[in-house]
């Protein structure tokens, strides 16, 4: 077949996929905690049309052989973890993260991470309400003492827990992620501190359904998403998540970080590039027609 046709076909396929990704971003413009997918292009393989050494003539610039390219493909598909805008809801179980971090969630016995803070308080059999994601997965937290400091075991290890808000109290969360049960008279008892993870290697996170991200290789978890907000500094004081420019906002939701104007521009560019490739394809087709018409 005419190489121009193959080339244009490859490219149109790649452009279509890029358009699909932009379409997905635009569809999730109003999805809480959605992170924009990003992608880029690179040129596809080249092959060399063999030439004999006799063709290395005076005035030639490049080495032997004629190089022919075969189009473009999608490359470098990833996620953009830039901050989304905050929307105030006033709902106490709506949490938003300011900064580069994720909540840790226990999804069916596995660790998952999310930024979608549309949480809820699910009543439990034992009384009280468990803090979970919209899908019912409990949030991971660590135990704290009545002073609000993290409880440490014999070897300094933290004790994992879940947040259960007792009956008759309201949940209050400070910027550091410590959760308090607040009585009507204003008396507050700490319930635990939410486990926060700083994103170190965003490429290691795989998006799964329900706005969750997972780490493909669990052994690499600490390298990819570092646990923050529980460790101690040299003087034995706790390092808050504020040291990583992270804060939690109660009563707010983080909107998606999709930039609608940039997405529209991207769509227009894709459409024009697609048209040009289609033009090259029909031109290649016309050439095959011309070759066919030699004997007519």
């Amino acid at each position: 077949m005419n190489p121009s046709i193959i080339n244009a076909m490859n490219t149109m396929g790649s452009l279509q996929r890029r358009l699909d990704i932009v379409g997905e971003n635009m569809a999730n413009m109003d999805t809480v905690g959605y992170k924009q997918r990003t992608t880029s292009f690179e040129d596809l393989l080249y092959n060399a049309k063999q030439q004999s050494e006799k063709l290395q003539l005076d005035g030639r610039l490049s080495p032997q052989n004629f190089n022919q390219g075969w189009g473009a493909k999608l490359a470098n598909t990833g996620l953009s973890f830039t901050q989304g805008a905050f929307k105030e809801t006033g709902v106490p179980s709506d949490l938003a993260i300011e900064g580069n971090a994720l909540f840790e969630v226990l999804a069916d016995g596995e660790r998952a991470y999310t930024r979608a803070g549309t949480f809820k308080l699910s009543p439990t059999n034992a009384g009280g309400s468990l803090l979970t994601t919209a899908e019912g997965y409990p949030l991971a937290a660590v135990q704290v003492n009545p002073a609000g400091n993290v409880v440490r075991g014999a070897n300094g290890a933290v004790v994992e827990t879940q947040i259960v808000v007792p009956v008759g109290t309201r949940m209050h969360i400070d910027a550091n992620g410590t959760v308090y049960a607040q009585k009507a008279n204003g008396e507050a008892t700490p319930l635990g501190r939410l486990r926060m993870r700083e994103i170190v290697r965003a490429d290691g996170l795989t998006p799964v359904n329900n706005h969750l991200f997972v780490v493909a290789n669990a052994a690499e978890t600490e390298q990819i998403v570092r646990s923050i907000g529980t460790e101690l500094d040299a003087d034995g004081n706790e390092i808050g998540i504020g040291a990583y420019n992270v804060a939690i906002r109660q009563g707010f939701l983080e909107q998606s970080n999709v930039d609608i104007a940039a997405s529209m521009v991207d769509v227009l560019q894709m459409q024009r590039a697609y048209q040009l490739a289609a033009r090259a394809l029909s031109s290649g087709d016309a050439m095959m027609g011309i070759a066919n018409a030699i004997r007519s």
């Binding site: 244009a8 690179e42 190089n67 022919q68 490359a75 390298q223 090259a280």
Partner: protein, 288 residues
């Protein structure tokens, strides 16, 4: 007569190659760091025709004839692409305008000296290494950081540092924490250097770079001729930007039409030869 038939056919094949090259340019109109390619055609070596079958004193030379054309080479046009701001910390763009003392280059990077010597402007390139350890060059600066902290080009090749090793971020250090200094060194918020500077290569003979696919170029010939670029003589690297493809859509569309029409013109010549041959074979000397 048959000679002309082959000449026209050679013209068709050449135009096809040109058309394919332009199609590839159009295909890569959105590819970061792509350099527009130009297919160069050359006529077949000239042959001398002379009149034969006449007596010795009447022998006459008719003159030279080029019995065809072929697509000789496809060369990249290393004009600077526009810089696009993304704000992504792993995007880097090279602005390459290397000065050679005493030489002035035109927009296409070519210079012809007073005595007719042609020289080309050296180009700056990111230096990467494939998984197999082969050295490649690229202008596509949309990098990413893998889970082990290696900085990788879009096709997965490892970006090299000035020491020739794969650039790796230390554990716990994010690319967003780092900013690029004027000398190609990545430094943290306190200005402390992290690793060695990125290796930007200076290619004095840019036409010795052959495309290798996945956005990379391979240097054909002695690698020793590729040296580390000096940031003081016209090379600049910017973080948060990428260099867009330098393909001109309008020019590509026009060239596409021109190639198609030239192909058609050659086809018409083939048809004329066919008609002429038809007359010679079937009509000359026909009786009745």
């Amino acid at each position: 007569m048959i000679r002309g038939l082959h000449t026209a056919a050679a013209g068709m094949i050449t135009e096809q190659r040109k058309h394919d090259t332009i199609t590839n340019n159009i295909a890569n109109i959105m590819t970061p760091g792509y350099k527009q390619t130009h297919a160069v055609a050359r006529s077949f070596p000239e042959i001398m025709l002379s009149l034969t079958g006449v007596s010795e004193d009447q022998k006459r030379q008719i003159g030279g004839l080029n019995a065809g054309v072929f697509a000789e080479e496809s060369i990249a046009v290393y004009a600077q692409g526009t810089l696009v701001q993304t704000g992504r910390s792993a995007d880097f763009a090279i602005v390459s305008n290397i000065n050679v003392p005493g030489v002035t280059f035109d927009a296409s990077g070519k210079s012809v000296s007073a005595n007719g010597e042609v020289s080309y402007q050296p180009q700056a390139m990111f230096t990467v290494e494939t998984a197999g350890g082969e050295r490649r060059y690229t202008r596509g600066g949309q990098f990413s950081v893998d889970t082990e902290g290696y900085l990788r080009a879009s096709g997965g090749a490892y970006v090299l540092d000035a020491g020739g090793a794969r650039y790796q971020l230390p554990a716990g250090v994010k690319i967003d924490d780092l900013s690029l200094q004027a000398d190609g060194q990545l430094a943290d918020a306190n200005g402390a250097a992290i690793g060695q500077p990125l290796l930007i290569s200076r290619v004095d003979q840019p036409y010795q770079l052959v495309r290798d696919g996945n956005g990379l170029f391979r240097y054909e010939g002695d690698e020793a001729a590729v040296t580390a670029a000096n940031f003081t003589d016209g090379v600049e690297v910017r973080q948060g930007y990428y260099e867009a493809s330098n393909v001109d859509a309008a020019q590509a569309s026009v060239s596409l039409m021109a190639a198609q029409r030239a192909y058609e013109a050659n086809q018409v010549i083939v048809k004329y030869y066919d008609q002429t041959l038809n007359k010679a074979v079937n009509e000359i000397g026909r009786m009745g």
